[in-house]
Symmetry: C2
Amino acid sequence: MIVLGVDPGITHLGLGVVEAEEKGALKARLLHGEVVRTSHKEKAEARVGRIHARAKEALLAFRPEALAVEEQFFYRQNELAYKVGWALGAVLVAAFEAGVPVYAYGPMQVKQALAGHGHASKEEVALMVRSALGLKETPRPSHLADALAIALTHAFYARLGAAKPL
Amino acid sequence: MIVLGVDPGITHLGLGVVEAEEKGALKARLLHGEVVRTSHKEKAEARVGRIHARAKEALLAFRPEALAVEEQFFYRQNELAYKVGWALGAVLVAAFEAGVPVYAYGPMQVKQALAGHGHASKEEVALMVRSALGLKETPRPSHLADALAIALTHAFYARLGAAKPL
Ligand SMILES: [Mg+2]
């Protein structure tokens, strides 16, 4: 099962593509990882347009059966929420155009899926991502690690028949 | 000067296209108005994908020289800010693809441009929109009226050489 995981953001957006085993322990192959970077010096439409283009490129190159994002929670930062929203909007346009359904999981669900309990530390999650992908080092930067974690999380729930549409 | 004004929203998104006189009193012709409606029963990517498609259609049909949106201010509603962000993200992708620059103005700037002072009521603004467009009735629904107000606002500032990129 090929899954594109996205860690949405307007200055850094992580994109990670994995191919997960259909059964057994959660194991997967890392097919692609990148972080789309944009600057506040660019025009807003250019930033969002590039995010859309890169997400679409990944969708067309790897033809994942699902795109997964982490549910976002914002506290007292409406401005940030709005701009992260722009980035996810661009990704949703790409998913719609490519005909790829979108799923979302909360932080607790990521921890549950990857570390087996909802109170796992960030380090435990990172270690499980590294182990599931058979990597020698933890993926960097953190935006890519987050994107891969959410892709693996979707694979985990989809295998259980518990995929969660956005 | 042809301008596409957008009132962004995820359930209702207003699109209004006006052709404004280049000088003299602010007068304009209404070329197009629509409200894109989406339902929470639809998949998120379908909602955002349709918003993108309709914005792009309007951009390609009317070839405006600018797209204008009202700056959004959110208070204690991160969830809303995030979803309005998705909608604006979809519009920004369309603008980028069509090569149309995006501008934004705050509520005070809209009032200043259309009613001549920053403390104008919503009714005064609506009346000025109707008058500038030579309409017999105030445009409805309010999402369309807001989209037209922001299009006219951009025309006002652009004519003064004071256009404000998003
Ligand atoms: Mg991150």
